[in-house]
């Protein structure tokens, strides 16, 4: 078996769950997560010797998930649902915490792909704007623009749930850090 294939096997064995979960956060749909992870694996392994080890492969594939998600946003399967809702209609039962989180994620899924990716990278990966920009290959100013727009939409559709716009733009880690926690990065 060739080296890239061995690395692919090891990656999916050790980190498959985390990578799939990440794709699922972005897409909110199992079939779309399948497609996204598949595309990302192809991007990461199709050229050269491929990533050297599982950690490097994890980083490659996760970045590929982010960029593939944005690049493939033309596909109907990951096309964003338009946000035409009012806050009170989204959050039917504000007293239930899980309902809040579910509705909140629904609102995240209604964001356009680039805004959605930036929100996930900011609040799931804990990255700061410059680090998100570096990962996506766009400017930090552009990232801040996406975050600002996304936060504004979330607040409009979901109401004020303690989301701090300043923290959204200024907080987070400056550097991408790989940890071993369940393969999450």
């Amino acid at each position: 078996m060739s080296r890239w294939s061995e690395t692919l096997d090891a990656l999916m064995r050790e980190r498959g769950r985390a990578l799939y979960g990440y794709a699922f956060v972005l897409t909110g749909d199992a079939a779309d997560a399948d497609d996204l992870l598949q595309d990302a694996l192809v991007r990461a392994f199709k050229r050269g010797r491929g990533p050297e080890d599982v950690t490097a492969a994890h980083a490659y594939v996760k970045r590929a998930i982010q960029t593939a998600f944005i690049d493939t946003h033309r596909r109907a399967s990951v096309r964003p649902r338009r946000d035409g809702r009012d806050a009170d209609r989204v959050l039917q039962d504000p007293t239930t915490a899980s309902a809040t989180r579910d509705a909140l994620h629904e609102a995240v899924l209604s964001l356009p792909p680039r805004e959605r990716a930036c929100i996930v990278m900011r609040y799931f990966d804990g990255l700061a704007s410059p680090a998100i920009a570096e990962e996506l290959g766009i400017s930090a100013g552009t990232v801040r623009g996406y975050l600002t727009s996304a936060i504004e939409k979330l607040r409009r559709t979901h109401g004020d749930f303690g989301l701090d716009p300043t923290d959204a733009l200024e907080g987070g880690d400056e550097h991408v850090v790989i940890t071993s926690k369940g393969g999450a990065r």
């Binding site: 999916m12 199992a30 598949q38 694996l41 199709k46 096309r79 356009p112 766009i138 749930f161 303690g162």
Partner: protein, 495 residues
């Protein structure tokens, strides 16, 4: 901190993880198809390497194919025979093979006999597929298999549909690997490739000829093996779709136009592996059968904007003509014709386009190009051009892309209409360009400027790079997205 949002996302990830667990992983749905696509991409690159080295070809298939991804599709063969596994095997045929050369004048059953280490044999479990050049052989004095149908239909937008049928012409059942059968369209099959190269897809190949030299032929080894017995008189049938972009690759010059216009009747060659009696080993035998394809259909007439264009090669300069590109994308791959996803953000594609001259002098001239490093992550390229044509130019100011050529750096970064990295030229006469999903027509009067800027990930090598700005021409038949015409404005920051 926004704990609710963080918790919501974490919970969604856990939901995805639980889904993953519940399915026992995603090997079938995700990993297996990804592995096949990786193998295919690597095979395409191998084909490119072969083109550059063994066949001493110009240009690189690898880069061309990587930019394009999947280029066509081939449907599974349909067999009219039950899947029983008795018949002539490769072991029965190999012993009787003799050398075949281009000009030996013989007839009979043609074949290709490849020799490789077991570890490299894709049919013996090697974890990759390959295209290779292997010795041509005669397998028998009489044909064992014949092409009984070879039909090509050219759609108006240049999409090509191929359908074929292969029959057992012998008196004995033959064991064939229908799952790996590949097709090839050759425009000039009875000569040696002279450096043009070939373009390979998923069990598809387009080339002037399959002869890499007078004794060796190119064969694809790809797909999932699936053996079947072909009884005397029984047939395998299949079809394939080749998109117009596949006809912009190496070795495809003029083929699509020739088929459409009736000046070229390509030869369709089917290459089918004959499995051995036992496990795959160090040798693989393929039978070949060919027929001249019948052609129906033709491409739609082109706009006057595409008439009178003259071929251009990389590095060529002319003061009496405007650099331009003709991108034969087909509407299915033209971002202008893809559904609007409503997010207000343009999407861009990087099609392969033919370099041309528009005779009659320059139309648009760059007067200013500069790159500034905005911060440690970001650079901005700004440009300004003037209409020097003496007449009004209809241009698309929403479809102005920039290519920054960093040479053989081994990477390409495409984002928002900027392509930075690997040289965009595939060969001397084709290169990648940029097309936007957005359109904003502008009538630019003589002497008036048009300007733009693009932001891209900072790369210090860009500061003394060269490249080009592309501006799409708005045509009178702009609702036809089969082809696009782009003005190319070269620039250089070196020195």
């Amino acid at each position: 901190m926004s704990n609710e949002l963080m918790e919501s996302l974490a919970r969604q990830a856990e939901t995805g993880g639980a889904l993953y667990d519940g399915r026992g992983g995603v090997d079938d749905a995700v990993v297996a198809p990804a592995r096949r696509r990786v193998r295919r991409a690597r095979t395409m690159r191998a084909a490119g390497t072969l083109g550059v080295t063994a066949l001493v070809l110009a240009g690189g298939v690898a880069a061309a194919l990587e930019w394009q991804g999947q280029r066509g599709e081939i449907a599974p063969a349909i067999t009219t025979v039950p899947d029983t596994l008795d018949g002539i095997t490769a072991d029965d045929l190999r012993a009787g093979t003799t050398m075949r050369t281009l000009d030996d004048g013989r007839t009979g059953q043609a074949g290709i006999l490849c020799t490789m280490a077991v570890k490299d044999n894709p049919y013996a479990g090697a974890d990759f597929s390959r295209a290779d050049s292997c010795p041509a052989v005669w397998v028998a004095d009489e044909p064992l298999v014949e092409v009984t149908r070879a039909e090509v239909v050219v759609d108006g937008d240049g999409t090509v549909h191929v359908s074929w049928e292969l029959a057992n012409a012998s008196g004995d059942p033959i064991l064939v690997d229908e799952g790996t059968l590949s097709i090839a369209l050759a425009s000039d099959p009875d000569r040696v490739m002279s450096g043009e190269g070939y373009t390979a897809g998923d069990r598809q190949l387009i080339a002037p000829s399959l002869w890499s030299d007078a004794k060796n032929r190119v064969v694809q080894m790809e797909g999932d093996t699936s053996s079947a017995t072909l009884a005397p008189g029984d047939t395998l049938a299949g079809d394939a779709t080749l998109d117009p972009q596949m006809f912009t690759g190496l070795g495809t010059d003029g083929l699509l136009e020739g088929m459409s216009g009736g000046s070229i009747e390509p030869t369709l060659t089917l290459q089918v592996r004959i499995p051995p009696a036992g496990d795959a080993g160090t040798r693989e035998l393929f039978l070949e059968a060919s027929a001249v394809a019948s052609i129906t259909g033709s491409m739609d007439p082109v706009s006057a904007a595409f008439e009178g264009l003259e071929p251009r090669v990389d590095g060529e300069t002319r003061a009496d003509a405007q650099e331009a590109l003709v991108c034969h994308v087909g509407e299915a791959d033209n971002p202008r014709f893809q559904p609007d996803d409503g997010d207000g953000i343009a999407s861009w594609s990087t099609p392969t386009c033919e370099a041309v001259w528009i005779p009659g002098g320059k139309l648009l001239e760059l007067t200013d190009v500069g790159i500034t490093q905005q911060d440690k992550f970001t650079s901005v390229i700004q440009w300004k051009a003037i209409n020097v044509s003496g007449r009004t130019l209809d241009l698309d100011q929403a479809s102005m892309g920039v290519s920054i050529d960093l040479g053989d750096v081994g990477y390409v970064m495409n984002s928002d209409g900027v392509s930075v990295g690997w040289t965009p030229w595939n060969g001397d006469s084709t290169r990648h360009a940029l097309l936007s999903s957005e359109s904003d027509p502008l009538s630019l009067d003589p002497g008036n400027p048009i300007a733009g800027e693009k932001t891209f990930e900072r790369d210090d090598k860009a500061l003394d790079a060269h490249g080009a700005v592309f501006v799409r021409v708005v045509r009178e038949d702009d609702e036809d997205g089969t082809r696009e015409l782009l003005l190319e404005l070269p620039w250089s920051l070196a020195g």
